[in-house]
């Protein structure tokens, strides 16, 4: 067979010109900074705060913010400023611990369900749905009653155990979706074992979707803790946390002591905002497309 055209040969592709993006571009720097400041304050509060947060100074009940008590005192005479930092430690700790518990349960459950045969997958998902359908508060009340006296760990367990189902659904859906991708097929052709496929191919691809949910879960856990305390199921009054501070604030309504309600709440909201914007950044981190509209 004779061809009349000239062999083209392999034409190399020219190297592209890059534009280096600055490291802080697009990242939620303000949020990380504020969150970092709050975290730091909570962690180091023992070092620089002179006042004992649990000390009830009954002479100075419901004092508005002043020179001596920067944030005022609450209905039992405790200094709110020191309570914020010590309480923050507890609240954040519960938030992270609960999220850790729920994420571990969720990823295990979801991955198992995703890789399982159809009937097992259906069964597991039904179980998760039933679990989800029991109102969270009721479940928390029941588990709390079983576990007995509330402590940081028990509350974390309660919140973690009630909150895993939504992440598990996402993990399972993602694993199902990714199972049939061609690059997974290619990897298996090349000889990749099950765990390599899971670690190198599946996990990085669903990681970002669950990362967002995990971060939101931290947020949810912190709010859950305060809500539980508010409803009376949370930490006892001796352990200071933002939630227990807010649970007392209801009494402050009638006395018009706005600082008891607003200040802890403001800290809570600020922390949640930071966590949320970090979560949003994680969610949209990769897309660089332009709108066609």
């Amino acid at each position: 067979m004779e061809s009349k055209f000239v062999r083209v040969g392999i034409r190399p592709v020219p190297a592209p010109r890059l534009r280096r993006a600055r490291w802080y571009e697009g990242k939620p720097i303000a949020s990380m900074f504020i969150l970092g400041a709050i975290l730091l304050g909570c962690l180091l509060c023992g070092l620089f705060l002179p006042k004992d947060p649990a000390y009830m100074d009954l002479f100075n009940v419901c004092v508005p913010p002043s020179g001596e008590f920067w944030f005022g005192t609450d209905t039992m005479g405790r200094d709110i400023f020191s309570m914020i930092w010590h309480g923050g430690r507890v609240s954040l700790c519960i938030g992270f611990l609960a999220t850790l518990i729920s994420t571990v349960i969720a990823v295990t459950f979801g991955a198992l369900s995703g890789m399982a045969p159809r009937w097992l997958d259906d069964l597991l998902m039904r179980a998760a749905e039933i679990w989800l359908s029991i109102p969270g508060l009721l479940l928390a009340a029941l588990i709390q009653a079983i576990l007995g006296r509330a402590s940081v760990v028990s509350i974390s367990v309660v919140i973690g155990v009630t909150g895993w189902a939504s992440i598990a659904k996402v993990v399972r859906a993602e694993v199902r979706r990714l199972r049939g991708s061609e690059y997974v097929v290619a990897a298996r052709c090349m000889g990749a074992g099950f765990f390599r496929v899971l670690w190198k191919h599946l996990a990085p691809n669903f990681f970002s979707s669950i990362m967002f949910m995990v971060v939101m879960n931290v947020r949810g856990a912190i709010v859950s803790e305060s809500t539980l305390s508010f409803m009376g199921l949370g930490l006892p009054l001796e352990i200071v946390s933002w939630g227990s501070m807010l649970s007392l604030s209801e009494k402050a309504l009638s006395s018009g002591a706005w600082w008891i309600i607003l200040i802890p709440g403001a800290f809570l909201v600020a922390t949640l905002l930071c966590v949320t914007s970090i979560g949003n950044y994680l969610r949209t981190g990769g897309s660089r497309e332009e709108s066609n509209l």
Partner: protein
């Protein structure tokens, strides 16, 4: 295309539904009874502590609590299938009556809230998609993020502080004024604050979701083609992008019904609004078994039912979804949201 027998399809779904409800009832029954706590307290109040053992035994027998758990369950199930769900220990009346008295309130709060939430979030989402990148969008996004971070109970407290205590414009609690007529105007006044909290608490989540969906649609190739053909921006957004996003949005709406209806308990507690939310909390806390069972089943039924509705909607629209699950719609919440 492979035809599905509709009878078989819906029949199978109905069967799964009933089975799930049954399993749920059994689970709730067992868990409730295994939890520590004394159900007699809700019936007899503080007198329980002073009861002698034989009085106690008689009380337990009267309430049917001395039999082994599975016997109790069968007894309950038999009664339930005939429509008799037992008596609430606390209120000492038929459970269905207790619930019936309050379910209306929750439905109003939740129902109107639902409509408002989805109506407003659609509008907000469209607004943000239209003005994407401009300062209007950015401001709304910032505001939205802030409102979504405010815990519901805190917002309620703050609003009560401002509007009820300081300004005295609005009532601080209840569904209608004590001794009042309970007319529409009065009810509406009492609904304003709880409704605001409910709506604000969920609004941004759905607005953000639909905003993102619309933006994703706007990046599709057909939008570029439509623009090249000369369609106005408004036409493309409303007629094409919105239409393509609506099915997913509908299934999200279906899924979130139980979530919003069930999430009213915090608002109800703070505002002392007599609804099912406070009822479920009380029954869980104080071991009012019969009431708890019915409420659990009710909430379970609503969740499972709407999950199925959403699944059916999805499967009808997009055959690809037959194997997939609705991924983004489950709101990441803890106990308190």
């Amino acid at each position: 295309m492979i035809r599905r027998n509709p009878w078989l399809y819906y029949g199978r779904k109905a069967l799964a539904f009933l089975l799930s409800v049954l399993v749920l009832s059994a689970a709730a029954f067992y868990i409730a009874r295994l939890a520590p706590g004394d159900p007699l307290v809700s019936y007899y109040g503080d007198r329980v502590e002073r009861m002698r053992p034989d009085e106690r035994a008689r009380a337990e027998e009267k309430l049917g609590l001395n039999a082994p758990i599975h016997v109790q369950y069968v007894r309950w199930l038999r009664g339930a299938l005939q429509g008799d769900f037992g008596i609430s220990y606390k209120y000492k009346t038929d459970v269905l009556e207790v619930i019936g008295g309050r379910v209306g309130n929750t439905l109003i709060l939740g129902g109107v809230g639902f409509v408002l939430i989805f109506g407003l979030s659609l509008g907000l989402g469209l607004f943000c998609a239209w003005n994407e990148g401009r300062w209007a969008d950015r401001i709304v996004c910032r505001l939205g993020t802030v409102t979504s971070c405010i815990p519901e109970f805190w917002l309620s407290l703050v609003l009560i502080l401002i509007f009820a205590v300081n300004l005295r414009w609005l009532p601080s609690g209840g569904a209608y004024s004590v001794g009042g007529t309970g007319g529409v105007g009065d009810r509406a006044l009492h609904l304003i604050l709880p409704m605001t909290v409910t709506v604000l608490g969920h609004l941004w989540y759905y607005a953000y979701m639909i905003r993102n969906k619309l933006l994703e649609e706007a990046r599709a190739e057909y939008v570029l083609l439509a623009k090249a053909k000369g369609l106005s921006r408004r036409r493309v957004l409303f007629k094409h992008c919105l239409r393509n996003v609506m099915p997913a949005y509908l299934s999200i709406m279906a899924i979130s019904v139980p979530h919003i209806l069930g999430g009213t308990y915090i608002v109800e507690t703070v505002f002392s609004y007599p609804g099912i939310g406070t009822l479920s909390y009380e029954s869980a806390r104080y071991q009012d078994y019969n009431l708890l069972m019915v409420l659990c089943i009710l909430s379970g039924v609503v969740v499972i039912l709407f999950n199925m509705i959403a699944q059916i909607i999805n499967e009808r629209i997009d055959p690809r979804m037959r194997d997939a699950e609705i991924v983004e719609t489950t709101e990441v919440t803890g106990v308190g949201e």
